[in-house]
């Protein structure tokens, strides 16, 4: 029984415990599959030039 392996008797808690690990594994597998194989999408046409940062550096 999974409850014995984890040491948590309440199924609502050990399911949550396992789902945390499964969700993180899903992220890893997804990135490994799609992050590598999917063609990099064409970057969209350059956005309009951004407004200057309005003297953020307050240069003389």
């Amino acid at each position: 029984m999974i409850a014995d392996v984890i040491g948590i008797p309440d199924p609502w808690i050990w399911i949550a415990y396992l789902l945390c690990l499964v969700a993180a594994a899903l992220c890893v597998v997804y990135a490994a599959c799609l992050g590598r194989n999917r063609q990099a999408e064409q970057a969209p046409a350059p956005a309009p030039e951004s407004a200057p940062a309005e003297e953020m550096h307050t240069k003389a």
Partner: protein
């Protein structure tokens, strides 16, 4: 504080300032300032997203809530990873990035405003963020300050101010490039700190299975006040049902702590802009695994350790030191609301464990009168050298006794993690954990401050004053005002797991107000500006109404309901409703309104920006 601790802290601060300076140097235009030039590396973006998402609120606040309520909070970790990372990156991130690029949007309100061709949406969203984000900022500030108070024995107020000043300093000049560089460094420190914490904790409690079994066996130690609202032990879900106060905890944990934050993350303005900082969807896909593992290691560890701290305090903790004094009858605050304070009389011990002559550890020796059965009875022995050896035999919540003022004491869930770190782990880890918390707080605070500033400067002022107006001074003034508001909230709000509650308020508000319009705007061309406005207004107004008139703790704190109607909540006499989170009511309503107004107004031309 020892010299090497000072050196470690200074080295960390130097690295943060240097990275902030690098960001400042490379900030050339508004896009750099607000979106890191849209060319962030996927790992930097994911770590920045993760470290912005996770703060002292998650580690100290929600970790403390797990210490009090148990492992049911792991559902929040699941939501954080699955919803906050997987759903957010895979289903929202790419579309947000492309729309943001196409519309040249720099902030979340600007993205919404341009998507719906509506200045009023941008202004309203900017205002909501500016007005409510200080609540969340205060939560983060309190979390860091509680650790400083516990670890260094300084009073709460100066710790709060110092913590706020430290983080405010570099974000004011660095913009998002500086913020993202430092976020990545901070995420690395956070990962290291939480990994050590997890391993050390499981080792302390005898391993994974033994630790969990020991925690399960402590069911009888649950504080009676928590049992009364449905606490069934730290490895069990609270009692579920409706129509009786013994179900209150289930509704608190699930609706406020789990769903409020678990869903709310999808509409967090400071996180959504992170999607616009990468140059293609491929970067987002590559970032998913970094984000998923990072969030698991942050919240998963914090909540597990928070719950397991009960085993340490009850079974393993031994306090040795000089007894500085005893308060023979202390009325320790167990619950404090504006119109309701519950205290438990007990005998308190004040012990100097470091040898510096001042009491740094405060413990319940035994309850008095009716509280005798509710509070732990410590085992006290006198050593040959005159010192005392105390085994507190306490759960985490009842062990977290802190001064709430001169001569007054409270059980403070937000102090559970700081006390556990200070007591259970070696001193060197305390410094690493302090850096971890500093990193966690600074990475989140910097983005919060940045978002508050751009909310009022870029989204409100510039929209009202016209494109030629210089918004940077207003942005900086907004940042200062936001920090001051957060400081004021942090000063007055302490205790009652306020960190987790304050975080949930902001996350829930953002979800109810913005999520339907945001997702609708990303996925459908049919959603009209009118529908978005109606949905945003509904979400914001229903949430505000619920907080002011229904939700018990918040309505009491604000006092408006009592002033107008003479009751602490309009539904005070109906079980469960006063603890249900506004999100449960407001999000379905704002979603329905969006759908209904869109369907009614389908003859109206859809909001135009997608036509570009």
């Amino acid at each position: 504080m020892k010299i090497w601790e000072v050196v470690a802290a200074l080295f960390y601060l130097f690295a943060v300032v240097y990275l902030g300076y690098l960001g400042w140097k490379r900030t050339r235009n508004a896009s750099d300032y607000m979106l890191a030039g849209r060319k962030a590396h996927p790992a930097v973006m994911a770590l920045s997203y993760g470290s912005t998402f996770i703060s002292t609120s998650a580690i100290v606040g929600f970790g403390g809530a797990a210490g009090m309520f148990g492992m049911s909070l792991l559902w929040l970790t699941f939501c954080n990873v699955f919803v906050g990372i997987f759903i957010a990156f895979v289903f929202l991130g790419g579309r947000t990035r492309r729309l943001g690029h196409a519309l040249d949007a720099h902030t979340f309100p600007e993205l919404l405003g341009r998507r719906y061709n509506s200045r009023s949406i941008q202004i309203f969203a900017g205002l909501v963020i500016f007005l409510f984000m200080p609540v969340y900022t205060a939560a983060v500030l309190i979390g860091g300050s509680e650790f400083i108070v516990t670890h260094f024995g300084v009073p709460y107020e100066p710790a709060l101010v110092t913590f706020a000043v430290l983080t405010a300093a570099y974000v004011m000049v660095g913009g998002l490039k500086g913020v993202m560089y430092t976020d990545a460094l901070q995420a690395g420190i956070m990962l290291a700190g939480m990994t050590v914490l997890l391993v050390a904790t499981y080792s302390l409690v005898g391993g994974v299975v033994s630790g969990h079994e020991a925690l399960t066996a402590m069911k009888a130690q649950v504080f009676a006040g928590h049992s009364a609202i449905g606490h069934q032990g730290w490895t069990s879900m609270p009692l579920f049902g409706w129509g009786d106060n013994r179900y209150n905890l289930w509704w608190i944990v699930v609706t406020t702590l789990v769903l409020g934050v678990g869903i709310g993350v999808l509409a967090q303005p400071q996180l959504i802009v992170r999607f616009m900082t990468v140059k293609s969807d491929r970067e987002l896909n590559r970032a998913v695994w970094v984000g998923g593992v990072f969030i698991l290691m942050m919240t998963g560890v914090a909540f597990t350790v928070g719950a397991l701290s009960n085993v340490y305090f009850f079974k393993h903790e031994v306090v040795r030191g000089r007894l500085i004094g005893t308060t023979e009858k202390a009325d320790v605050i167990a619950k404090q609301e504006r119109f309701e304070t519950r205290t438990l009389p007990c005998r308190l011990l004040h012990i100097d464990t470091t040898g510096n002559g001042s009491a740094d550890t405060h413990l319940v020796a035994a309850g008095l009168g009716k509280a005798e059965a509710l509070l732990p009875r410590a085992e006290i022995a006198t050593l040959a050298d005159g010192r005392v050896e105390v085994r507190p035999k306490s759960s985490s919540f009842l062990r977290a006794v802190v001064a709430s003022g001169p001569g007054t004491w409270m059980f403070n869930a937000d102090s559970i993690i700081p006390i556990y770190i200070t007591r259970a782990l070696p001193r060197w880890f305390g410094v690493l954990f302090l850096l971890t918390l500093l990193a966690a707080a600074m990475s989140t605070l910097s983005s919060q401050i940045h978002t508050m500033g751009t909310g009022i400067g870029h989204d409100v002022f510039k929209q009202l004053a016209g494109p030629q107006a210089r918004s940077i001074p207003v942005t900086r003034a907004g940042m200062m005002l936001g920090i001051l508001l957060a400081l004021a909230i942090g000063y007055y709000a302490r205790g009652g797991y306020v960190i987790a509650r304050a975080t949930a308020i902001f996350f829930g508000l953002c979800a109810a107000a913005f999520l339907p319009a945001f997702v609708g705007g990303l996925y459908s061309k049919r959603v009209t500006a009118g529908a978005a406005k109606a949905s945003i207004l509904t979400g914001a107004l229903v949430t505000t109404f619920w907080l002011v008139f229904i939700k018990d703790s918040e309505a009491q704190a604000l006092g408006i309901c009592n002033a107008l109607f003479g009751v602490k909540s309009l539904l005070a006499n109906t079980p469960n409703w006063p603890v249900v989170d506004p999100l449960i009511v407001a999000l379905p309503l704002s979603t329905l309104v969006l759908a209904a107004v869109t369907l009614m107004g389908c003859a109206e031309e859809p909001a135009g920006t997608l036509r570009r």
